[in-house]
């Protein structure tokens, strides 16, 4: 990346998929861990260890939610550590990767 350092901040991007029913618990945990910003996409479907989940099935609607969360590395570690014990129960998945936050919008991480 050749962009100047005042443009970008190195950060972590956390991406979590859980059942929609567990979403509010997850977000509660996130807020407790001091998260100041996240984005939620509902009505997702998927395949996992519990088989297929279809949000648009007629008789058996099972919906996932995708949570995307950008934060500084230290914060990411704290979040992961406080989420981990619950992740087993939530199921789904939790990914973490590197990214750059483009400075501009009000800092909410």
């Amino acid at each position: 990346m050749i962009m100047r350092p005042e443009t970008l901040i190195s950060m972590n991007r956390i991406e979590i998929v859980v059942d929609e029913e567990s979403l509010s618990d997850l977000l509660e945990l996130c807020r407790e861990a001091g998260v100041r910003g996240y984005t939620v996409i509902k009505q997702a479907g998927g395949l996992g260890s519990r088989g297929e989940r279809r949000p648009d099935d007629y008789a058996l609607e099972e919906k996932n939610a995708v949570v995307i969360l950008a934060c500084e590395e230290k914060q990411a570690e704290r979040i992961i550590m406080s989420l981990r014990p619950k992740l087993k129960e939530f199921g789904g998945m939790c990914l973490i990767s590197d990214c750059q936050w483009v400075i501009g919008p009000a800092a909410s991480y």
Partner: protein, 326 residues
């Protein structure tokens, strides 16, 4: 009863929906439309039932309650024995499927009401109570059968107790059941003047809305046809035979124990013959995650529902006529 009187619009719309699915038409109803119509139909049937019950003797309703509980407990056990004994279906799938057959299908019930209305046959007020009651015990029995299955399989019994309580609560707070009971209570409570004001919405246009519901159900059933191969010959056959077994008990109980009119017996038979696709599937998915949902959904939506709607209802009506000596 001529052929043309069998051509109830609701059933023809069901056939149209299935046809659309079979010829791979891109016809599709918005999912929310279906949910809305179901809400509307449940309220409509509840209000109508409540109004009818308000003018009848509540004590006379008790036998209907016993019959409903009997079906809810007895039919799943019969289903389980058949599935395990004859079909050699693995215990947990057998338990999940069985639970569905103790419960009822409001859609089938309403189609039967439309059918009776179309040929001008009256019926008692009590079957609607059975409709509201039968969903819950079936879920309970499904859970008991699952526990039994796990025991004979030697598996761990993890958290069975907690699940039992959780599902019991769910069986009684289930949205559809609540809506049905609530509307029955409201229908019974309001004055005739008040009822008249909401009658055009909940009664006059009911049969038309039912047509759209059944067109959608037809598409849903049509979609499941393609899964017949995965489900296997035995289970597909079970999906046709089990409603007939349920119907046998239904018609006997309706005629000899409850002693209803031809219309009433037909409705009781339909209740016993039908199988749930609303409250039971999510409950079984939760209670028996090891079971394959495509088994019970295909049976319920792709097999038993179409069978009852197209063949079952007129058949049960003919049976009720026969028993009544007409």
């Amino acid at each position: 009863m001529s052929i043309s009187s069998l051509l109830v619009p609701a059933i023809l719309f069901f056939a149209l929906g299935m046809f659309a699915c079979i010829i791979k038409s891109d016809l599709k109803f918005p999912p929310d439309m279906h949910k809305m119509i179901v809400i509307y139909l449940l309220i409509g049937i509840g209000l109508h039932g409540g109004k009818a019950l308000a003018t009848s003797n509540m004590g006379d309703a008790l036998p209907a309650v016993w019959a409903a509980l009997g079906f809810g407990v007895g039919l799943p056990i019969i289903a389980y024995i058949i599935l395990r004994g004859i079909g050699r279906i693995d215990p947990l799938n057998a338990a999940a499927i069985s639970a569905h057959y103790g419960s009822v299908s409001a859609g089938t019930y309403m189609t039967a009401v439309a059918f009776l209305g179309g040929i001008g046959v009256t019926y008692e007020a009590y079957p609607v109570i059975m409709l509201a009651i039968m969903e819950s015990p079936a879920i309970m029995i499904g859970l008991v059968l699952a526990g039994y299955s796990r025991k004979i399989m030697g598996g761990a019994q993890k958290g069975e107790k907690g699940m039992m309580k959780h599902l019991m609560i769910e069986a009684f707070t289930n949205g559809s059941i609540l809506l049905l009971f609530g509307s029955m209570a409201i229908g019974a409570a309001v004055s005739d003047t008040s009822y008249k004001k909401i009658e055009p919405f909940f009664e006059t246009i009911f049969m038309g809305a039912l047509c759209i519901f059944l067109a959608d159900m037809g598409m849903e059933a049509g979609k499941r046809l393609s899964e017949f191969k995965k489900v296997g010959v035995f289970l597909v056959g079970f999906g046709v035979v089990m409603p007939l077994i349920g119907a046998f008990f239904g018609i006997m109980v309706g005629h000899y124990y409850l002693q209803y009119s031809i219309g009433g017996v037909t409705l009781v038979t339909v209740l016993a013959a039908s199988c749930s696709y609303i409250a039971v599937p999510p409950a079984m998915r939760l209670a028996i995650p090891e079971a394959n949902p495509s088994f019970y959904l295909t049976l319920s939506l792709g097999c038993t529902f179409p069978f009852n709607v197209v063949i079952g209802i007129p058949l049960y009506y003919a049976g009720a006529q026969y028993l009544a000596g007409q």
